[in-house]
């Protein structure tokens, strides 16, 4: 099964959404240059999708090991809260603020990894613990207030531009390349896929599956923290209550649309990025068409079911009895 086969459906879906906009929304494909920076719906889609893209990259690795991470939204809230507090209450340089908040997120990932890897707790439950209590921790840090800050150097993360493109897009691209090199050019990617395919066999073959799990949850949390910083700089504040709400579901959806199976095994970073773009493209389309924003949830629901059905072997055989012969 090659990569194209896996990426076929998300690419077709994205093309359909774009085609729809090409026909019905005038100016959707217009890209203007203002102050040396590109503006337009297409750029905006990528920029808005950046937090989900970053998290979906990490989530891809977690799902590849057969796990799931529900705590990413809470980790985002915590990272934003930590950064906002450091910026307002201390005199730390911006670099230290970023490093500390990312380190905190990383440690929460190690915690998740310990629960899943070392204690063997079901991933849904293990990360549910941090999902429930993490938001409480973030609220506690910010004292239930929305902590606003004003620091142009820090705000560059979510609002800055580099070579004409929003910095967030560069962040996603950089993370994507780094993770691809890390997993495809070293044995780590193989270990991750092996763990997801057959944990017991991998362990017998000498793969330290516990360390592999620890690693993927830590990476996922780290990226969630980065996404948290983006969201915080976007609104110039840490909102412990709303930052990252529901984002775990979008990230998981992006990964599944991208062709990585929830049961683990092979993973596709490019697919997850496509999935995240598709979700945001749908949302933006709905908004620019003037359809009430609440329809996005209904549309998302239908997309999930459609993608799941298309990927389901049983369903294909149900509608086309000889489908299996055709594809294999």
């Amino acid at each position: 099964m090659n990569t194209w086969h896996k990426l076929k459906w998300p690419i077709i879906a994205l093309a359909l959404v774009l085609l729809f906009n090409f026909i019905f929304s005038s100016g959707f494909f217009q890209v203007e240059i203002k102050n040396g920076r590109l503006y337009g719906s297409l750029i905006d889609i990528l920029h808005r999708a950046a937090p989900v893209m970053l998290i979906s990259l990490g989530m891809t690795l977690v799902i590849a090991t057969g796990g799931i991470d529900l705590s990413v939204g809470s980790v985002m809230a915590i990272a934003g809260a930590v950064a906002a507090l450091l910026l307002t209450k201390t005199e730390q340089p911006v670099a230290m603020v970023i490093i500390i908040s990312l380190a905190v997120s990383f440690l929460f990932g190690v915690w998740n990894g310990t629960l899943v890897g070392l204690f063997g707790i079901t991933p849904i439950v293990a990360t549910l613990i941090l999902m429930v209590s993490g938001r409480g921790i973030a609220q506690l840090l910010t004292d239930g207030q929305i902590v606003t800050f004003d620091n142009s150097a820090f705000e560059f993360i979510g609002r800055g531009a580099l070579l004409g493109l929003p910095f967030t897009i560069w962040l996603v691209l950089f993370t994507f390349i780094l993770l691809t090199v890390f997993t495809k050019k070293t044995a780590v990617g193989l270990f991750i896929e092996a763990t997801g395919d057959n944990e017991k066999a991998s362990a017998y073959a000498g793969v330290n599956t516990n360390v592999v799990k620890m690693l993927v949850y830590a990476i996922c949390s780290l990226l969630a923290g980065l996404a948290g910083l983006i969201v915080a700089t976007d609104i110039k504040a840490a909102d412990a209550n709303n930052a990252g709400q529901w984002i775990e579901l979008d990230a998981i959806l992006a990964v599944v649309i991208g062709g990585t199976a929830l049961t683990g095994g092979r993973f596709f970073f490019a697919g997850s990025l496509l999935g995240a773009t598709l979700i945001q493209a749908l949302t933006t389309t709905i908004l620019t068409r003037g359809v009430p924003v609440q329809w996005t949830l209904v549309v998302k629901a239908l997309v999930i079911i459609a993608v799941c059905l298309l990927q389901s072997e049983t369903f294909r055989r149900f509608i086309l009895p000889r489908w299996k012969k055709v594809t294999v």
């Binding site: 707790i121 849904i124 209590s133 506690l140 998981i252 049983t314 149900f318």
Partner: protein, 326 residues
């Protein structure tokens, strides 16, 4: 008594002990504020009735080895529909309430069919169900509206006077009634035994000739029904139709079931445990309110901590048994 049976009951026993300890702690700490009174005790059920009802359905789903993330969304949808039917269309409650309950059950059936017949992951199907229900609720009505008709009369008809000016409010009564019915369903009917069998080992259940398909679809139908009932209870409790009702309820329901000793791998657990789990939620909330200086988000941290404690306990017990094949 058989040692195996004893061991299986350790998580439930631990939950019960923690529940009693928390209650005694609250009663001693806030003795002067009347923490230890029937009024406060009734409130444990009154304030968390819709969580309890949703948790009942969730327990069945988890026992069968699945998961249902749609319950919060269904609560929102039902709440809005009830408001629209009764307020805008003047439907009498005897028509409106059964109608929304039927709708919840129907949604559950559809999800169950997707999960069973197309072998889709329950996590994703019910996630789609959650988006769909919540989205439809927001589409139908973007903001919370008060329900003025019928609610007061239903609440007063359904409440049970307990003497000395106290009464069991309608939502608590619905919760307790639903719980008793669920106990009967789980432990005294064929359906209940099938749920345990399917969750314990689906292959064995199939080979034994048990109706796996009917059981699995039935479990999601039941959960959808419970979620709808929770939505009705919520509307009665708040006298409003709120599209955002039950935000995050699914996770609280899962937490209550897990704290109550139900294993997420399916096949092991008790409804009574879930009942105690919901009670623990109520006690923690009330303790934090009585304490006064602690903010309400401590509830989340304490619940998270308890969740961790009980899961580690379950793991400790499981590790001693032969690990079942996943």
């Amino acid at each position: 008594m058989n040692l195996r049976v004893l061991k299986r009951n350790i998580p439930f026993a631990a939950t019960a002990v923690v529940c009693v300890l928390l209650y005694v702690f609250g009663a001693v700490q806030f003795y002067d504020e009347n923490f230890f009174s029937l009024r406060v005790f009734i409130n444990f059920f009154y304030d968390n009735a819709f969580l309890g009802i949703a948790a009942i359905g969730m327990t069945f789903v988890i026992l069968s080895g699945g998961i249902d993330l749609s319950v919060g969304g269904v609560v929102g949808l039902v709440s809005v529909l009830l408001a629209i039917l009764m307020e805008n269309h003047g439907a009498p409650p005897v028509i409106a309430i059964p109608l929304v309950l039927l709708l919840g059950a129907g949604l559950g059936t559809v999800m169950g069919v997707f999960v069973h017949y197309f072998a889709l992951p329950a996590f994703l199907v019910t996630l789609a169900g959650m988006f769909f229900a919540r989205g439809m609720a927001l589409v139908l009505q973007y903001e919370s509206v008060p329900i003025t008709k019928h609610v007061d009369s239903i609440n007063s008809t359904l409440s049970l006077p307990l003497g000395s000016g106290l009464q069991l409010p309608s939502s608590a009564l619905i919760y307790l009634g639903a719980f008793v019915l669920a106990l009967w369903l789980a432990h005294f009917t064929r359906f209940g035994r099938n749920v345990y069998a399917v969750g314990g080992n689906e292959q064995s259940a199939t080979l034994m000739g048990l109706p796996v398909a009917r059981t699995r679809v039935g479990v999601y139908t039941l959960s959808g029904f419970c979620a709808a009932l929770a939505g009705v209870t919520y509307s009665l409790y708040t006298s409003s139709g709120n599209p955002n009702a039950g935000m995050g309820l699914e996770l609280d329901a899962i937490a209550a079931a897990v704290i109550g000793g139900t294993l997420l791998s399916g096949g092991v657990g008790y409804l009574a445990g879930t009942f105690v789990g919901v009670l623990i939620f109520g006690i923690i909330q009330t303790t934090i309110i009585f304490q006064g200086t602690l903010s309400s988000w401590w509830t989340k941290i304490v619940v998270g901590g308890l969740l961790l404690l009980f899961i580690l306990l379950q793991k400790g017990i499981q590790a001693k048994k032969l690990r079942p094949k996943n």
